[in-house]
């Protein structure tokens, strides 16, 4: 049965001074990038042509996969570093975790102009700049939930285990290798799967973008689908989507299933699981002598590193290294702070350039998007809850439906946007309503999967009690099912809300068949100001979106989540 480990740490509900500081910090970073970039005048370069001939698909696919893999590897390293550093001291934690919370709520695509301009500036006229920009964009879509997951795992580690590490004087590396990594492995694996799915979701936007009458595109599966969509070329759109779905399913079979099955050895509960996760590929690999040799080799090298690290740490000089490192952290902090304040001043200047009319537009757009995302979440919950509960409570249905649902869910919603749009246009509803549907496509799965997990986690004895006492219909839902799935439902809705806001950027402003379709909303405002190069408006819209998302999280979701953890826990 599918289980999605909670990865949302419960932080305070109220805004504190630190939140304001962090918000200012983020505005600083964004405006710094934007400011540096907007001053850059660059040469026009011929854009890469995307050839729609299906024979190009394999090469394009390879390109996209490489991009996602690199971005994922970066995300993994960053997550571990971030989670580790945040856990190291209370001060780090107080700054870094709210920062992560805010960063997570900033839509990927608002990083776009800054990142692209900066990268193009560093590598003028070369493809590598655009490539790096694309990778960083994918990275920004993947990294935050992984970092949260790692931080949270380390933070919730049973006290005894950390005491073992202390009593037995494990070196930092041994602790990392034998305790921290294994303990956080399962959470990281689940979040990795979600992150990579996110990578596919934003692939189209990350491989092909227009900014201030400049057209950036990279050879890849995303740009293939996007180009086909721009041409309104249905057969080629379908080729592209088909390939993407096939690759995702193949990756699931070849990579994720084996990894998930393998990661089960890191479960912390010490009882045998009743639902062993299995993978054909993993079974085969376990039988292979070659794989075993590689594994043995790696574990020997790791042991060597452990020994080496141990020796370094046992030396008396080691303490001085720690002091030096602390000093460097402080210097780094001071430099970062002064750069930020400079950037903030610049940001103020950008803000001042925004007209009152634009201010008004941002505010009304924010309300429109808020309404739209809320409707999307409510619709999603309305249909996924009954279905999820049905699947979760019926092992037979689950066996048949679960894989089907998983495959459907794995199709990145953005890829099918063009197809759905065509359909919507024929129906005659505008993008104002259509975008709700597009948001739904991208986010309903989070709720569905969580509800399935929640329903299947309702203990058998409670279900039997309900049957014995003849609980049926509404009473059964009120007494057993809703309380039982509540924590999972909330988790799913938190993730879905974040996803819906992110999706607003790609669903409120769509190019299809050479035409731009847009509707009023914060997302479309962000996309539009990116295209037109109105950096002041872009910055303002992004900041407003971040504030709205963080506020909703603090005021609504985290309270509900705390309630769920406190009152409706079933363990």
């Amino acid at each position: 049965m599918l289980k999605i480990p909670f990865s949302i740490p419960v932080i305070s509900f109220r805004f504190r001074a630190i939140d304001i500081a962090i918000l200012l910090f983020i505005i600083g970073v964004l405006s710094l990038i934007v400011f540096v970039a907007s001053g850059w005048r660059y040469e026009m370069q011929p854009a890469v042509e995307i050839n729609l001939d299906p024979s190009n698909i394999p090469l394009y696919t390879a390109n996209s996969v490489v991009r996602i893999v690199i971005a994922y590897a970066l995300s993994l390293m960053f997550s571990v570093w971030y989670g580790y550093t945040a856990n190291r001291s209370k001060i780090h934690e107080k700054i870094m975790i709210p920062l992560l919370d805010v960063l997570q709520s900033i839509p990927v695509l608002s990083f776009l102009p800054g990142v692209v301009l900066a990268m193009v500036a560093v590598f003028p006229g070369r493809r590598i700049g655009v490539e790096l920009a694309s990778i960083i964009l994918i990275f920004t879509g993947q990294v935050w939930n992984m970092a949260f997951s790692y931080y949270n795992s380390i933070n919730t580690m049973p006290k005894e285990l950390t005491e073992v590490a202390k009593v037995f004087r494990l070196s930092r590396f041994t602790r990392f290798l034998r305790l921290d990594m294994p303990f956080s492995a399962i959470g990281l694996v689940w979040n990795s799967m979600m992150s990579v799915a996110g990578g596919w979701f934003f692939l189209m936007a990350c491989e092909m973008f227009v900014m201030k009458d400049r057209d950036f595109r990279l050879p890849g599966l995303g740009s293939y689908i996007q180009t086909a969509a721009n041409n309104g070329d249905m057969p080629h759109i379908l080729y592209g989507i088909g390939t993407m779905v096939a690759v995702i399913i193949l990756l699931d079979f070849m990579v994720w299933r084996p990894v998930v099955a393998w990661s089960q050895k890191f479960r912390f509960d010490t009882v045998q699981a009743e639902d062993e996760k299995e993978s054909l590929v993993l079974d085969m690999m376990r039988k292979s002598r070659f794989v075993k040799h590689i594994g043995d080799f790696l574990s020997r090298r790791l042991k060597d590193i452990e020994t080496l690290y141990q020796r370094i740490e046992n030396r008396p000089e080691y303490k001085t290294i720690a002091v030096v490192r602390k000093g460097m952290t402080i210097i780094f902090g001071i430099v970062a702070l002064s750069v930020m304040s400079w950037a903030l001043i610049k940001a103020m200047k950008l803000f001042l350039d925004i007209s009152t009319a634009e201010h008004l537009t941002v505010i009304t757009s924010a309300f429109t998007s808020l309404l739209r995302t809320s409707v999307a979440i409510i619709i999603a919950a309305l249909w996924t809850v009954p279905l999820g509960v049905y699947i979760g409570l019926n092992p037979k249905a689950s066996k048949i439906l679960q894989p089907v649902v998983q495959v459907i869910a794995s199709v990145p919603a953005t890829a099918v946007f063009p197809v759905v749009l065509l359909f919507l246009i024929k129906l005659g509803g505008g993008l104002a309503i259509g975008s709700v549907f597009l948001m739904l496509l991208g986010t309903q799965w989070y709720i569905l999967f969580n509800v399935i997990a929640g329903a299947s986690a309702i203990p058998q004895d409670l279900r039997e009690t309900a049957t014995l006492y003849g609980l049926k219909g509404i009473r059964k839902w009120k007494v057993l099912i809703l309380p039982g799935i509540f924590p999972y439902l909330i988790t799913g809705m938190i993730t879905a809300t974040g996803g819906a806001w992110n999706a607003s950027i790609v669903s409120e402003y769509v190019t299809f068949g050479g035409e731009v379709m847009k509707t009023r909303g914060l997302g479309s405002l962000i996309s539009e100001s990116t295209v037109s190069g109105n950096f002041g408006l872009l910055l303002l819209s992004t900041v407003v979106m971040a504030i709205v998302v963080v506020s909703i999280n603090r005021l609504l979701w985290k309270r509900l989540f705390a309630l769920a953890q406190e009152k409706y826990r079933l363990d």
Binding site: E160, V164, V167, F168, R178, K265, F266, R267, T270
Partner: protein, 429 residues
């Protein structure tokens, strides 16, 4: 003078509370642990036992006070310590032997040396053949064996055990306790001293040579007593039960009464036996030749050995019998007693009770020194409660009343709950 391995001086631990207040958990803790000692730290749940253990192990900092290892402050030395956790704290993704050798490389052992030592320790704790199993596959008791092996493999100076058996079922815990104590007395464990935290009094009395009893809110050392019953200890002996009762009393009494309690002489424990039954037993054995195998006696009486044991013990107390090599033997005095008529029996019993039975002597002294020669039973219960639990105090008094009445030493007024002398000495009617 034995070597002091660990010493704490004026340890205090407090935690800040909201509103600038602080909650004091430990106060004024002064403990010396000698080489070769097995020390239990006992206290009610939530008293701060585990906090104290962690501070002594260097895992937590005290708010005030110092800890010394072999005379050196803990801050400047890094003593080798081992720790066994209530929750086992094994790494489920490492095999048994990998868990056991976990800390060894930190101490500079090579891979081979570490493996060798881990395997040896696993062998000692009875896990031979389970080296490559994973903790998930083991029962709770076996998991804790891994935890013990892991701690022992370090060859620590001090082994800290934090309620190591309380997560196990009763039988497994009993079993493991005996094995650990066997290893300890046979000196198979490569350690100098053990500090053992528990809230289970029997466990502490069963295992340790010394018990430190902590009070509650904040924890202070309420009593520090040595337990010198020879190993292996048997929970059903009087001596064992006596110490358990005594620690129980200390735990439940306010601190002010403890010094007085500790000074008290060890109090005689009366076996719960009615005089009629004792007399019957002696007569029967006397008729059978004065000597009988205890288990034969039990089967002839269709009783469990445990049930006739108090009778035999009472007979021994009174000097009517003795137990030797599993036989119950009637003494000369016992023989005279069994052949005497009722009045003579009472006389013999009165003499022997007055000279052998502490409680009866005490009752007589109290009754004859009061003006009315009467005293409420509550008075005696109060005295007895310094040595026994409330239930046991009542049992003791009940037995004494039964014996005293038979001996016609004193009487008992059921309605008023008073004991009184029937014929006060030197007062003719």
């Amino acid at each position: 003078m034995p070597h002091v391995v660990l010493e704490t001086r004026n340890l205090k631990k407090s935690f800040p509370m909201s509103g600038g207040k602080e909650i004091v958990v430990l106060e004024d803790i002064n403990i010396k642990v000698m080489e070769g000692e097995f020390v239990s730290i006992l206290g009610p749940s939530g008293a701060g036992k585990s906090t104290l253990l962690r501070i002594m192990a260097g895992l937590a900092m005290p708010s005030a006070g110092d800890i010394f290892y072999n005379g050196m402050p803990l801050k400047s030395v890094k003593p080798k310590i081992g720790m066994v956790f209530q929750s086992f704290a094994l790494f489920p993704w490492l095999s048994v032997v990998e868990n056991a050798e976990l800390g060894l490389k930190s101490y500079g052992l090579s891979d081979e040396e570490a493996r060798e030592r881990a395997v040896k320790m696993l062998d000692i704790v009875g896990l031979d053949g389970f080296e490559d199993a994973y903790p998930r596959e083991l029962s709770g008791g076996m998991r804790q064996r891994v935890g013990i092996a892991r701690a022992l493999a370090l060859e620590p100076e001090v082994l800290f055990m934090d309620e190591p058996f309380s997560a196990l079922d009763v039988l497994t815990a009993d079993n493991l306790r005996s094995e650990v104590i066997d290893l300890w007395i046979q000196k198979k464990m490569p350690i100098k001293s053990v500090i053992f935290v528990t809230h289970n009094i029997e466990e502490a009395v069963f295992m340790s040579g010394r018990a430190i009893v902590l009070s509650h809110n904040p924890a202070r050392v309420k009593a520090d007593m040595s337990i010198d019953i020879p190993y292996p200890r048997n929970k059903s002996t009087r001596e064992f039960q006596y110490i358990v009762d005594r620690i129980y009393t200390i735990l439940t009494k306010p601190s002010e009464e403890i010094p007085f309690l500790l000074k008290l002489e060890r109090y005689q424990f009366l076996p719960h036996a009615k005089v009629g039954a004792i007399a019957g037993l002696i007569e029967m054995v006397h008729d059978k030749g004065g000597r009988i195998d205890v288990s034969t006696l039990a089967s002839e009486l269709s009783m469990e050995v445990d049930d006739i044991f108090p009778l035999m013990e009472a007979a021994v107390f009174l000097g009517f019998g003795e137990i030797k090599e599993g036989d119950f033997i009637i003494t000369d005095k016992g023989a005279v007693f069994s052949e005497a008529d009722t009045l003579q029996k009472k006389e013999i019993f009165r003499d022997t009770a007055l000279s052998n039975i502490q409680l009866i002597k005490q009752i007589m002294q109290v009754l004859s020194s009061t003006v009315k020669h009467r005293m409420s039973e509550d008075f005696f219960i109060d005295i007895l409660e310094n040595h026994f639990t409330t239930d046991e105090a009542w049992n003791q008094l009940e037995t004494a009343i039964d014996w005293g009445r038979y001996a016609e030493l004193f009487a008992y007024d059921y309605d008023s709950g008073e004991l009184y002398l029937e014929q006060p000495a030197g007062q003719q009617q």
